[in-house]
């Protein structure tokens, strides 16, 4: 009886065990499917739940930290704040996807620096993910020995350096190792041996070849960085598989981020060193250039001063009547004697803008100055009447003195073309991005997105 009971109990336990195992297996499968199902979908690509769960903490950290501030003091406010942040993240993802697509259209994938810049982004991704992984397992403060222990990697930068030192040989202009990198063992991990080629893949080939040529001391520092790059990659891969993020999707994300750098240079929005490429060249007709020349002439050669004469009136009607007669060549003296005015025959000598493009400078000048200068810049000899501080002014521009007495299109043709190019590129980029966004039609699985966002939130602890 006892035996039978035991058998029954055993069978029950077995059943339960198998049941739970199946349950777990089904759950895992469901989780896996869920992680792989797209949360962000465009006509061209998609991000799975796992990929998004990976990207959010790695690239949107600031958006995930919810501070204890008045803005989020109540539940309702907190939800509003979350909505705002989710909207910002989604906009950013849309922008990135569009940038990636647009850059491809403008030849980014075939650019000579493509692989370099995507490599830097990929390496950055590894490093960001590793930071998350290590913080999760080791806390805020950790050092390389802690990392190696966590990952069960047995590598000593010093021993690697010693190994390289023994192996380095010169081959003509180059420095290389005597044996192939794949044959030089420099450590072990759970899976077996680690070779120099494994850690070399963590830095660019150029950096690695230069590292070989360094003196012993310099190389030690460099190897420490290479080993850290290797551990970053391992930790990244662990986190990626933990979250079921998909490498191909993450790589696209690298492409998109590098694309922004490429585009900012291509469309003239970047200064030095952002991406080594030139701006797009646009062709303009001579008429377009010449028209633009007149439009920006005051910005090309600063206006020294403007001399204008005019009168002040109580009301618009008097001012307009005066202005109209003045235009009809009735002399100012006659008009001043004839019309009702507050002041007449006034003469203004106005200093020009130092830089007509600098709107901030206008803010510092009086309304009257700005009005006179505006009309001078637009070459309006008899401008429309204007109300300033409750009074009505009428005006005639008598003379304008430019810094350059004899400005010509030929002199400033480069600056004119450049200015028009920049303006046009801004418009072109705006329109291109709009079109591509429409075409990509990025859709978010809102419920899943919010769930992943909520799970990723970093609670402020201090």
């Amino acid at each position: 009886m006892q035996k039978l009971f035991n058998v029954q109990q055993f069978l029950k336990l077995l059943y339960r065990h198998l049941y739970f195992q199946r349950l777990i297996a089904f759950s895992l499968l469901a989780f896996s499917i869920q992680c792989r199902s797209p949360v962000v979908q465009s006509t061209n690509e998609s991000f799975s739940a796992g990929t998004l769960a990976f990207i959010l903490p790695a690239f949107f950290t600031d958006e995930l930290i919810l501070p204890e501030s008045p803005e989020v003091s109540t539940r309702e406010k907190l939800e509003k704040e979350k909505e705002r942040r989710i909207a910002r993240i989604q906009t950013r993802i849309q922008d990135l996807m569009a940038a990636g697509e647009l850059a491809t259209k403008y030849g980014f994938n075939d650019d000579e620096y493509y692989s370099t810049y995507v490599f830097l982004q990929t390496r950055g991704r590894h490093s960001r993910a590793a930071g998350l992984y290590f913080t999760r397992h080791l806390g805020e403060n950790y050092k390389i020995p802690d990392i190696l222990k966590l990952l069960k990697i047995n590598i000593s930068p010093k021993n690697v350096n010693d190994t390289i030192e023994k192996s380095v040989v010169r081959d003509g202009a180059n420095i290389k190792t005597r044996e192939p990198l794949e044959d030089i063992q420099i450590g072990t991990d759970e899976k077996g041996k680690i070779y120099l080629s494994d850690i070399a893949a963590s830095v660019s080939g150029e950096d690695f070849s230069r590292l070989l040529s360094f003196s012993y001391n310099a190389r030690l520092g460099a190897i420490t960085e290479v080993v850290r790059g290797y551990t970053d990659r391992i930790a990244h891969d662990l986190l990626r598989s933990e979250m079921q993020a998909q490498e191909s999707q993450l790589f696209k994300f690298d492409h998109h981020r590098a694309s922004e750098l490429f585009l900012s240079a291509k469309f003239g929005k970047a200064g030095k060193g952002v991406y080594p490429t030139g701006t797009l060249e646009l062709k303009f007709s001579p008429t377009e250039l010449y028209d633009h020349y007149f439009q920006i002439l005051p910005a090309l050669t600063p206006m020294r001063y403007v001399i204008a004469t005019g009168a002040i009136f109580k009301n618009q009607e008097s001012a307009e009547r005066f202005a109209s007669q003045w235009k009809d060549k009735i002399t100012l003296r006659t008009l001043c004697n004839r019309a009702e005015h507050i002041q007449c025959g006034l003469k203004w000598h106005i200093r020009g803008y130092k830089n007509a493009k600098d709107l901030a400078e206008r803010e510092e000048r009086s309304l009257l100055d700005n009005w006179i200068l505006k009309n001078a810049l637009e070459s309006k000899m008899y401008p429309d009447v204007q109300e300033i501080n409750g009074l009505w002014y009428t005006l005639k521009i008598d003379s304008i003195q430019f810094e350059d007495d004899n400005p010509t299109f030929e002199k400033y043709s480069w600056a004119v073309r450049r200015d028009l190019t920049m303006q046009s590129l801004n418009l072109l980029l705006e329109s291109e991005m709009k079109t591509i966004k429409q075409r990509l039609n990025v859709q978010f699985e809102q419920e899943a997105f919010i769930r992943i966002f909520n799970k990723s939130i970093i609670q402020k602890t201090d």
């Binding site: 994938n109 000579e112 620096y113 493509y114 692989s115 370099t116 995507v118 490599f119 830097l120 990929t122 390496r123 950055g124 590894h126 490093s127 930071g131 010169r170 202009a173 180059n174 420095i175 893949a201 963590s202 660019s204 080939g205 150029e206 950096d207 690695f208 230069r210 040529s213 360094f214 003196s215 520092g221 460099a222 960085e225 990659r233 191909s248 790589f251 696209k252 922004e260 240079a265 003239g268 929005k269 970047a270 200064g271 030095k272 952002v274 080594p276 490429t277 030139g278 701006t279 090309l300 493009k357 709107l359 901030a360 400078e361 350059d404 002199k411 480069w414 600056a415 920049m422 801004n426």
Partner: protein, 503 residues
Amino acid sequence: MVKLKLYFAISHFLKFHTLAFVLGLGLLLLTDIDAYTREVHKNLPEDAFLFMELDGSNQQRWAADYMKAKAGGRYTGYCQQMAPPSHPIKEAIDYGNVDFCVSASDKTHYGAVGIARVGGIAPDLVFDAFYDDLLFFSWQFPNFGLYANNFTSIQHFINLLTSNEEGFPIRTQNHNDYDGYAYNASYGFPSLGLDYALAVGMNNASMTVNLPGCTHSNCAERYSIVPNGNPAIDYRQNNSQTPVGTPSGDKQTPGDGSNYNCYSDTLFNNCPDEGSKVGDYYQIPNTNPGGGGFFTSDQDWIVAEPGDNASTFYYNEFFLEGGTSRNDTLQSSAVVGRYYSIAAQELIYLGTVQHWTGDFNQPTHLWATLGYNHGDYETFADEEYGPRATGQSVTNQNYETPSLAIAHANSRQNRGFSYLATNDPRGNDKLAGIDRFLMEQGFLTYHLMFRPGHNKLQTTDKSVWRNVLRWAVPSAVAQMAIIYEKGILDLRKCRNSSTCNNS
């Protein structure tokens, strides 16, 4: 006093709102410094190399031969790449797997000349200066929608100004014989302009970031020419006294008195160190570290290390020493024998010096400002001299006139200066002295602006810009040839320990 402080507070508040205009005007203003000088920075070292071979002295020809021997040829042999692909993600889709050396459009990344060309642009393309700008902690203004600029370029100035555009005295030489860029000592200071816009954008930017130990996630994209690059420390050369406080591995908390080097303090209360005034403006930084009040601003700012200091780092510590000591002095013992052992890939460090040499032929790197046609002139130079063909004579493209370069070379005071160490004016006899060459160049370029028809700061007249370029290209070619010559001579001087001295 309180009223005065309040006045400052209000005036800065207004200034901030004015900034909205400046930033609103962002596209208009900021794209003005758009500059892609990659072609000029590649062409100049190449032309210097060709000058050494074809028009230089016997010694220069020999130095060029040495470099060719090391690199395996002029345009053949070792291929120098910035960061070629060794992408570890094999399964990644759509990966181009481009071989940079093969695909480089100009096909000139091979051999000694290839190294020269790549080295010429290298300092612009690193992500090694991290600032806490208005939006993010990053190596650049990262917002694609608005504008992007690599902060590393802030280290490419030598400020030779004594007054601003209005004639207002500005105080430089605060931490170096000649400082680098500082907003409070720029040509446009204190006017609202590009220098001001950038100063505001980078408000409270901490310079003292310990980059190799940076724990902030945005540091993940960092990229230096040398391993563990750390400009906050590395570029403190030539007896620099620039205070760095305690370099942090993250953004620094404002107001703790430790961030000696805020980029600027154009907004409220972020840079607590108090400076001293020249005229009505704070121009001497850090006279009271940790000091400063709530209602006052504009008390502190970054004085970036000058370009000759950055050059000295790459020249002394990596080109000559091979990274042995990596401090602010040259250990001549570490140079011994490297004449024989130096590898092709290490020539890049001499090549990077040529970037700053090129910069010091551009007047606004000495008349320190980001505005005043700084970027537009550089773009103009790139468009004109950029597509030049070697050995040809095309109007408005081939600016590299050999006869002028010879004249420039012959006129350089430091041409025959080949000591390994200089007698530093402050009695410090420990430097390899590359800064001496760069300073001479800097002063010549600075004075060019006083020559009629050469003041390119104040005009967009292309004939004036061409005048400047006609002067600058042969001048740079000559200076670079002299620097190459010096580099190889310094190595040769230390071919063995008995000759590695100043006798």
